[in-house]
Subunit: 328 residues, 2 copies
């Protein structure tokens, strides 16, 4: 029987999940839930209803896993706790500093109601975290490096757009190639913030705006840009629409470490992602974990989990025999 | 209390485990077991006994996990089954085609005697397998590529040394850079055996040997070399000792796949290892799984397992709270 999926929300991530379900033959989309007027929302999957979130409880027994597609700032801290009462849920909560309290609140609710909740799923947190953990366990004496990009930072793009005189803007985080090479060489470099990433901005100025002032304001913005080498490029609205509507992203996780009686042998572990679509890849990870959630629920292994708590085999549609024969 | 480790055998892998224990503060070496006369074996860890394998059962209650360091061809198929009767065991069984029957035999014994056995641990099978599995689950529509090297192939080195006129020899498997780049680009190339790896041989000839004949014999050897572009270099015994005693290895695991309604978005997942010491890195992986084995045994989760069945958190000396706070 197919794993019955519900989606709450219909932004980029939710649309990625909708498309992702078509790549997973053991899953089916049951409904998309929205806080808006359902009649205002047109989804892509034929025959699947759009339902007001007010009616979500009538789907309590029709859905195996509910995918929560809200934002980490205000939606998920409430939604995941709320919906873990009635559904097995997956979220992509990515406010690192608040994961412990989010975990505790969700865990309490999920245990009390015998549900499975998998939080902080995606690629960072998610696939990158798994690689950090495995590599740390295998090389206890070593050093971690994470690089992001090339890809769009939503927070930095928002910051640009708040600068006076900016009509539209997008910011790319770009890893510094020489820093990547230094890490890859196993030389264990100490890298400052500035040495790891550069920030490249594309700005559509308002008519008559002072471009030098915009550049200066962006480059000197504390927290966001002042610690980085930042480039500001001015482009037209047409160029913006043509060249900067993509959602590519990616990054690198390294651990370099030593073994031997005198740390005489060096090792480099590198994991990297190069993604055409950040939301579709994130959605694909969430769906693999939805499969795990449905299995954990089936064996009454309830509570809040992260990617660290879930054996890889639980993500696969194949049997233990099959994965041992073909992937081990 | 420390995890008490026993080691069976004292070859390269066993010596890597002995050194690796010093990098894991929660582990201690209890004994090294040998089929030889124990007095003939000098180990590096002060105060730890070398014990005849005939006396291993007297250590039944003194060891939490026994690391089996025999070879896959003849040792492990017998040893893992035999010692899973009295010990939690880890092996690095790597004869891919025989994993299903090895798993079945070990599982039966381990379940019957309430022991944990983790088989086929290391980096391939092991870390590479995990990456293949995760990537397959996240990108159901895609293609896998595994490259090995640059590193020594023991089997191919043995094959060289059997050629008449060869005094000593070593063979390096080298991934073809242009093939790596083609995969990395996401172009999903179809690659023949010849296009993926080259084989580079270093041979010390016997005095007066016919070098042309040796070269021809190696290059035309079926299974081992005839499907590859092979280079044969002749060197002196001194050069051999100076330049070819290392045990570096490594490799790459890729999955390239697509998402979206029309497979319009491409993604590339790459995992790679660059290892100064193949046996020491393999040993480090085995030790991380020894930690998992001791935990599985403590919660009575018995039977045969592979890396697919074990949640990443079980490998870490840190608590769930700590890994969520620092690595997620």
């Amino acid at each position: 029987m197919a794993i019955r999926i519900g989606i709450l929300g219909y932004g980029n991530l939710a649309r990625g999940i909708e498309a992702g379900i078509t790549h997973n033959k053991d899953m089916e989309l049951v409904a998309v839930f929205t806080r808006r007027d359902p009649s205002s929302l047109q989804i892509k999957t034929a025959g699947v209803p759009v339902v007001s979130v007010n009616d979500i409880l009538s789907y309590k027994d029709k859905i195996d896993v509910l995918m929560l597609c809200g934002g980490s700032a205000t939606d998920l801290p409430k939604q995941t706790v709320e919906y873990a009462k009635d559904f097995n849920v997956i979220d992509s909560f990515d406010t690192h500093a608040k994961i412990p309290e989010h975990f505790a609140a969700v865990n309490e609710q999920a245990l009390k109601n015998q549900k499975v909740a998998i939080i902080s799923c995606g690629w960072d947190p998610g696939m990158f975290s798994i690689n950090r953990l495995y590599s740390n366990c295998v090389l206890p004496d070593g050093k971690d490096y994470t690089f992001w990009g090339k890809g769009v930072s939503q927070g930095h793009s928002d910051a640009i757009r708040r600068v006076p005189g900016v009509k539209n803007g997008k910011q790319y985080t770009v890893p510094v190639e020489s820093a990547l090479e230094a890490v890859r060489s196993g030389s264990n470099p100490e890298l400052t913030t500035r040495q790891k990433h550069t920030r490249v901005c594309y700005v559509v100025p308002e008519e008559g705006a002072d471009k030098d002032l915009i550049t200066k304001t962006i480059k000197e913005m504390p927290n966001y840009f002042s610690d980085y080498d930042t480039t500001v490029n001015f482009i037209t609205e047409e160029e913006f629409a043509r060249d900067h509507s993509g959602m590519a992203h990616g990054g690198f996780v390294f651990r370099t470490g030593t073994t031997g009686w005198n740390n005489e042998n060096k090792h480099v572990i590198e994991y990297s992602l190069k993604l055409d679509s950040n939301p579709e890849f994130t959605a694909s990870v969430l769906l693999a974990y939805a499969r795990a959630a449905s299995r954990l629920a089936a064996k009454s292994d309830f509570g809040c989990k992260t990617v660290f708590d879930i054996a890889p085999a639980l993500l696969s549609p194949l049997s233990g025999e099959e994965i041992r024969a073909h992937l081990l």
